[in-house]
Subunit: 242 residues, 2 copies
């Protein structure tokens, strides 16, 4: 059996976009909220607009402009900013509804191949999120979607946000693996570039509809990643995992 990445024992996963479909899940949760508060925005556009605030918010932490905070705090701030930007009087919305909508990020459907692919990969590899998500959110996502992680690593373990080296390196250190014994699995070329620079192996999973039908980024492998696939089940096939 051809079983690639022989020296690898640990697979770290990007989660938002790579394992779960955040756009559909956020749109599903946003639809009744937008209707209730009479906000004239398409739920899918709303999801993309919320997501668009994600990197700039993390950048305020990466740059040292503010101390590290968990992703749920940033997502909540971004929600309020997004609503205010559309003329919504955020203070008039009950706290309960804002908190509930923010928890949409904890209830996202996995891509159809994800739970099966992870279960197969787990037979050979230690698997864990190396995500910018916080532990409680990753934990709820796993229970919601049946994702069989061995542990939850990533931003909250390292108190840093990818692509900062610490997020990868402290996650690997906690799991007990060297970079050369580990691979990052991600749908984003930039994430893989950061991982490769640290000596990790790289697995690119194409998710061409992460951002919807008009996606114009990460449609293809931009470097010679060690594995390139269209699903996590295909990753399991390629890595020779029964």
């Amino acid at each position: 059996m051809n079983c690639r990445l022989q020296q690898v024992g640990f697979l770290g996963f990007d989660v938002f976009g790579t394992v779960v479909d955040w756009r559909s899940g956020v749109a599903r949760a946003a639809a009744p909220f937008l209707e209730r508060y009479d906000i004239a925005l398409d739920p899918f556009d709303f999801a993309n607009a919320w997501r668009a605030l994600y990197q700039p918010a993390m950048e305020t932490v990466r740059s040292g402009q503010r101390p590290w905070v968990r992703l749920d705090v940033l997502q909540r701030e971004n929600l309020e900013r997004l609503l205010a930007g559309h003329g919504v009087a955020v203070d008039d919305i009950p706290e309960r509804d804002l908190a509930e909508l923010t928890r949409a990020w904890d209830r996202l459907d996995p891509w159809p191949d994800a739970a099966d692919g992870l279960a197969r990969l787990k037979r050979r590899f230690v698997i864990a999120p190396v995500s910018n998500g916080h532990i409680a959110g990753m934990l709820q996502l796993a229970r919601f979607g049946g994702l069989p992680w061995d542990a939850i690593l990533g931003a909250e373990i390292s108190r840093s946000y990818k692509p900062q080296p610490a997020t990868y390196l402290k996650s690997l250190e906690a799991a007990g693996f060297e970079p050369g014994q580990a691979a990052l699995v991600a749908a984003h070329n930039g994430d893989l570039r950061a991982a490769r620079a640290l000596g990790m192996h790289t697995v690119f999973v194409r998710r061409p509809h992460e951002y919807g039908p008009d996606q114009d980024q990460d449609l293809r492998a931009e470097e010679d990643w060690d594995v390139v696939a269209d699903s996590l089940t295909e990753v399991a096939d390629i890595l020779g995992c029964a």
Copy 2:
């Protein structure tokens, strides 16, 4: 169906002694080592003697005498101390053998009821170790014994050792639960006392042979813990988990 601890969503577990049988596993790994190096010690006595150094070593961290270090570091130091105390020239033993024996703590059999009990409890509760073990060790134990944790919390998350409050509180914070929404499951009255003092619920599991046939501690519930049981499957029965 009588389903107790209605307000509880999270169960944190002590692991060494409560979920896994460290004494048998350490003795099993120690037996060939003791024979190879001609050390006249019964493997089970060796396991108990190694374990006896566990609390004093953590106390050097709790007291602030030394900065926080992971449990595998303490276990390795304790091994060398134990061997030296029996006249063994530790420097003459290959590093590989010392490292291998230390990893005995990552390959311990669960008590016979543990994997099934955890799988049932996971249907209703978020379950995670709140152990003094480090993440990599807990992760290997879970894979070795089929323990279906939702996440791995505890000492390494908090950089503190139970019964310090931070170990419990930072684990709960990471999982997204208040103390009143959580219970500690442990075979040790002292661990439960610390958890109760913080507002957590308490589940005592009797493990009368954790230390062997002559065990003289934690043979019974010393306070009116919320649940008292003889196995994790009995805990699942009592908590009304199908």
